[in-house]
């Protein structure tokens, strides 16, 4: 009986250990198969937007980086401040690590021009290029949100603040594949993101 118990707990330990060692993250989004029969994973396409310092930022600036993206607007009365509180945790933790970036897309680019974003970033005490706050063509931003990051982002006069958008944080790997989507308003969800970030940094 004692032996049986020992063997059982040993087995459990082995299983648990091998699981925790091999944490792998999924590839999210539609997959396609190319001509040579390989699976091609969903990828964030090229983009170009201005950041809070009026610098043009494109996918080239995040080449080889793991990054977290979200959608917000500076006058948002509801979930954005919560998201920014959580995003600050990510910012502070990876402040010294150049492989990690944060991109926040404004979904109210008419109001959130570069000088509004600059003021916002200064008050939040965050800096580019670690944390880029981006603005630009509205249609391009909405398309990127809906088609590429797979989150809702659009105008809605019925919504407080005039826009509907999800509070999602999207985790993207070094090859621009979406590897995780988390609720950026919830502390425990962001804890998961931080764990998964470590997995991606080791890939």
């Amino acid at each position: 009986m004692l032996l049986k118990n020992t063997v059982l707990s040993l087995l459990f330990a082995v299983v648990a250990f091998s699981c925790s060692q091999e944490k792998k993250l999924p590839f999210l989004g539609p997959k396609t198969v190319n001509a040579t029969g390989d699976t091609v994973y969903h990828q964030i396409p090229d983009f170009q937007f201005l950041n809070q310092d009026s610098v043009l930022v494109s996918q080239k600036d995040i080449e080889g980086k793991v990054y977290v993206a979200d959608f917000f607007f500076t006058t948002c009365p509801t979930i954005c401040p919560k998201m920014k509180t959580q995003m600050l945790r990510i910012y502070e933790r990876y402040k010294e690590r150049d492989e990690v970036r944060i991109i926040s897309h404004s979904i109210d680019p008419d109001f959130d021009n570069t000088s509004v974003l600059h003021d916002y970033a200064t008050r939040l005490q965050v800096k580019a290029p670690k944390w880029n706050l981006l603005t630009g063509d509205k249609a391009a931003i909405y398309k990127l949100g809906q088609k590429s990051y797979m989150v809702s982002a659009q105008e809605d006069p019925n919504e407080a603040g005039g826009f509907v958008h999800s509070g999602a944080f999207i985790l993207v790997d070094k090859n621009r594949h979406v590897r995780g989507i988390y609720d950026g308003t919830v502390e425990t969800e962001v804890n998961h993101l931080l764990e998964d970030m470590e997995v991606l940094l080791k890939e």
């Binding site: 500076t74 006058t75 009365p77 509801t78 979930i79 954005c80 401040p81 919560k82 920014k84 509180t85 600050l88 916002y120 200064t122 008050r123 939040l124 005490q125 603040g161």
Partner: protein
């Protein structure tokens, strides 16, 4: 006799806290819930605010009248606090009562009638 004891204690307790006190407690509890829904996103649960984006409200020097107008109409100063049309006079009375107790250490009700007066005289 034993069964009577708790009833007696309850009776004693209730008669001790005046009607005013009970209402103050009700206001404060309601105010806490309202704060969670309408304010906590920006000013945080402890009222400390978020860096320079949202100010701390723990030591605010604004009068109750000024607070009532601020909550209802918002303010565009250095920062931007949106107007909140959803807040009724009672909500504002409860919010101010809660803030007074939580950060002012003062258990004193801010009456609905005072809110209504204040709202008529907003600048």
């Amino acid at each position: 006799m034993k069964k009577l004891a708790p009833i007696l204690i309850a009776f004693f307790f209730f008669s001790c806290s005046s009607k005013e006190e009970i209402t103050q407690q009700q206001y404060s509890v309601e105010g806490m819930a309202l704060y969670k829904t309408h304010c906590e996103n920006c000013h945080q649960a402890d009222g400390a605010g978020l860096r320079d984006l949202y100010p701390s409200i723990q030591q605010t020097k604004l009068s109750p009248e000024a607070l009532a107008c601020l909550f209802k109409n918002g303010k565009k100063g250095n920062g931007f606090m949106p107007a909140n049309a959803k807040l009724q006079a009672l909500d504002i009375a409860e919010l101010v009562t809660y803030m007074r107790e939580k950060w002012g250490g003062k258990k004193q009700i801010y009456p609905v009638d005072s809110v209504k007066m204040a709202l008529q005289n907003c600048r």
